[in-house]
Amino acid sequence: MGEFKVHRVRFFNYVPSGIRCVAYNNQSNRLAVSRTDGTVEIYNLSANYFQEKFFPGHESRATEALCWAKGQRLFSGGLNGEIIEYDLQALNIKYAMDAFGGPIWSMAVSPCGSQLLVGCEDGSVKLFQITPDKIQFERNFDRQKSRILSLSWHPSGTHIAAGSIDYISVFDVKSGSAVHKMLVDRQYMGVSKRKCIIWGVAFLSDGTVISVDSAGKVQFWDSATGTLVKNHLIANADVQSIAVSDQEDSFVVGTAEGTVFHFQLVSVTSNSSEKQWVRTKPFQHHTHDVRAVAHSPTALISGGTDTHLVIRPLMEKVEVKNYDAALRKITFPHRRLISCSKKRHLLLFQFAHHLELWRLGSTVATGKNGDTLPLSKDADHLLHLKTKGPENIICSCISPCGSWIAYSTTSRFFLYRLNYEHDNISLQRVSKMPAFLRSALQILFSEDSTKLFVASNQGSLHIIRLLEGSFKHLHTFQPQSGTVESMCLLAISPDGNWLAASGTSAGVHVYNIKHLKLHCTVPAYNFPVTALAIAPNTNNLVIAHSDQQPLPNDKTLLYNPLPPTNESDVIRRRTAHAFKISKIYKPLLFMDLLDERTLVAVERPLDDIIAQLPPPIKKKKFGT
């Protein structure tokens, strides 16, 4: 297919935020993940673990608890004391409500899904009724001495277990009073620690309460008598999370040493009916604290400070041996963080609270396959653009000519004009951007940099004409009646005539820009779209779906099936014969053609991310 000069960029110093909570929804088979910067991501486990939605983070909104309620409603609670409900259609925050109990540490939805319980800093446990469009405070339970760090409902909904510091309380839901108080031993390896924090509790139908704590213990309590039944010391550090399967025959715990332990209820002997909890499998997929675990019917899910989301399928539960049976490690967001100005060889990197503009280096040398060419000019860091306010950047883009930079946060849309005078760059903000552009999910410039396309979270698509130092709103494609689904992906044809836009589940819409009307809609496919592109010259639309299977459609003419591709991971270049695969790169976040014979690849080696994390708890490894 030919020879390329590849700019291998490893200076995108992106470090994902650590995972704080995970919540699994059985009905929709979706997983909600919250990160330490307040970002909440929704993964569709049926669609090959695709991250289909996300809510941008916010500096003051550290989520400490996350849970699903009836009707697939998602709630979170955080250190700012607010309960937040997310709108999964419009991808914004529906409302935030102060629980008036100080920072919220824990949260649990009742087994029927209509009541919400929060545990607060001041030791209160508050019960909320979930109404169709809001939540309503119902009452407080008996106030405890210190913060409530974990909560769990008995499956019948009559009792709850609440983990605090040094003890676990069992409450009667009807009366709101504590029935039992189970004191946890502070002793840790013979040494008395100052405090024993109950990081997690789980209430089983037979009345057993399982607790995990900062002394490295997994303990089984009889809630009827308030006595300790069994004790497993599993770690030298905190055990921070627990999740039980729906069948209550298996549960998973995560420790601060990065180990995840699987416990199973197994028969004592091969043919007896007496069963006991046995620690069966340890998994070491993390290097740092495992802050959150979840237990889907077929997999153990864990996440923590080392930023990876790990999905470990339970082989015995997987029936079809396909991709679902493989261990998944998801580190990077499934969306674009980098844009490129082909004309000026610029790269725009998007971070949570700032943007970086870099100019690629150059070389005059040539070489053969595999050679590293001597640089005549190294890459330059041109610009560091910090956002104002506590909100994270949702999306950003640099125009192909390199003269425009646009980005959006939840409340504002920013457009900048860049002027290049020799080596000096000046930046000028375009003021008075219309309010409807805020909360944009995707921004795209046309190839000739004269038009700006903005996909808003309300489902509409705005077209802005760019003039020297100003702009003009050209048109808005309104969503089709009855749908509010927001568009997440945009692609423009190189000739500027066609715009393809896709949401998370509906089909791909193709608009005619010349006539400003909808041209056609590619029918929806079972799996969400992960990447879109329109080929030059032929104007063929190429769609990649999350199942990594080829999907021929009326607009594409494919000679060969698509290989397993994802939007950022593989060099994708179609020819008349086949796809070419190169495997020399570290995890790729971006890949584009600068010209016919030049590629730019942005790699992010995992080791570099780990190097930037705080040091993990030291642990003796096998063979060292």
Binding site: G2, T280, K317, G370
Partner: protein, 679 residues
Amino acid sequence: MAALEEEFTLSTVPLGAGPNGLLGVEQSDKTDQFLVTHGGRTVILYKVSDQKPLGSWSVKQGQIITCPAVCNFQTGEFIVVHDNKVLRIWNTEDVNLDKVFKATLSAEIYRIHSIQGTEPLVLFKEGAVRGLEALLAEPQQKIETVLSDDEVIKWTKVFMVFRHPVLIFITEKHGNHFAYIQTFSSRTLSKYTLFHGQEEKSVIQNFTASVDRKFISLMSLSSDGCVYETSIPIHPRDPDENQRVVRSLLLKTVVAGNARSGVALTVLDQDHVAVLGPPLPASKECLSIWNTKFQTLQTSRELPQGTSGQLWYFGENLFMLHGKFLTVIPYKCEVSSLAGALGKLKHSQDPGTHTVPHFVNWETSRGYGFGSQNSEQSKRILRRRKIEVNVPPPAFEQLLSTIKKDSEKDIEVELCKFLAVKRTPDFHTIVGDIVLELLGRHTTEPSFYPRNSLMQLIQTHVLSYSLCPGLMEAALEKTDVQMLQLCLQQFPDIPESITCACLKLFLSISDDSLQETEINMESVSDCSDPVQEKMDEQTEILQNGFNADEQNCDSCDRKLNQKPQDAAEETTSCPVVPKRAALLNAILHSAYSEMFLLPHLKDIPAQHVTLFLQYLYFLYLKCSENATMTLPGLHPPTLNQICICSELNKIEVSFRELQKLNQEKNNRELYSIEVLELF
């Protein structure tokens, strides 16, 4: 680990205090029955487990018993000496000692010794020894004087060595000690001077001894509280010469140095001694069990009411005076074995199937002939000291003669007959000897390889490697993998070198020759199914949905329906044929210690090591995919297997580390322009 059990009192009648209170405790010919001779006039026969007397006999007023009563094991009669010269012989039916057989001898008797396998031996105070039969034939015969003037016997004991009794007695003259060894096979008496060495000042207070084929190990407890050991050869090079033997320190300060009385020592088995006495000058008297090999105190029991410095050990019971009562403390000690020390002892899950212990003392089965039928008495005593021969079952003799000359077919027939007979407690030693006999003929007559008989014997489940050394070597020589597999499954104590030799053979044997052999496939029953193998899933790691480890990067002409897991299937199909897998599983299930295994593993050629590692990795994949953590096979999941999985986990980590080392080579610069050619 040695342990003392709860003590109990045997006699309810208080005994006179001091050494005169109790003359001795001796075994009778019945298990659990002991003769207790009171100082003075009475002999009582006790049943120890019932703690009750079965009979009591007294001498007339004015007479005094001077030597403890013993039982003549050949006749079942009891013998006692009163007034130094008068022998009385009676049995349980007799009531009055006055009316029983009486023989008056011409010299004073020191002790009568009676042990199983020989007639009672009479030791006279002047050092002469006579068999009882010879004495009774001519009671007034002249008894010669062996000892010099002022030389007195302090202690004596008799052993059976190679079916002949050996008598030892220690004398003292002017503070010097002499040991005399009287053998009866060669009728020699040798004299040794016990050289005290450095500790001249200490006075020897008590003796005990054990025998180890060619040497008598004499232990003495000195007044400095230490135990010394002296090795005395049973058969001296020059019997006439007075030889000196030096004692060496065995245990330091087991009792308080200045203890005046109540100090006694007795050897329990080759590693353990029991010591009676106060451990500290001020403390009460104690019974302590010491391990001489590791110099450790195993257990001790305080005797607050004092004791007399007399200690007897028979079977599993220690007898001593506690206060004024004869007290019995049962003593238990696990047979210490290397396997036990290394944690290789297999604990059978259902005790019903194996009643015969896997581990037997090597000395019992070999060299000493066949153990006693009467083994219920005391296994430990028997192992160490009993050398008597009971008549083996006739089928056995028949079988041995058949093995010596007849054809393999005949041997099989005889063997079947023999195995059909009810098993005796020493069945395992007999089976071991049959195997040795068969192997003996195999070595002299290489064409003779009674495979079927050997297989049948292995399947009796009583054999171990140590019972029939040479069997696995012969099978290795014949590349008899089926027998090796059986041995690996059955024997708990295979040396690592043999395990390694088996591994080497199993890895190198050709598939063709495996095809012809019959191998137990139980351990691989579920991976032989090819359909199932197809179902093996890939277990590679995907990052962001992308399979980073996929190997065929430039396969341009991929089939339309070819899925990436095809590449992974390579690794999850078994790298060896099922028969070989079954053999390798037998190795993996056998007990071994890494320390001893590692030197031998080096001998295996690289390609075989690779194959073995591939198989281990395959097992690892098998284990991690399997919900119940079973290794391939029919057996139900056990925690053991989970442990195996965790071991394999470690192997996986090592593999990963190796892989990482490979990747380190990649450059780590932040920016570069490279040339990439895509074909």
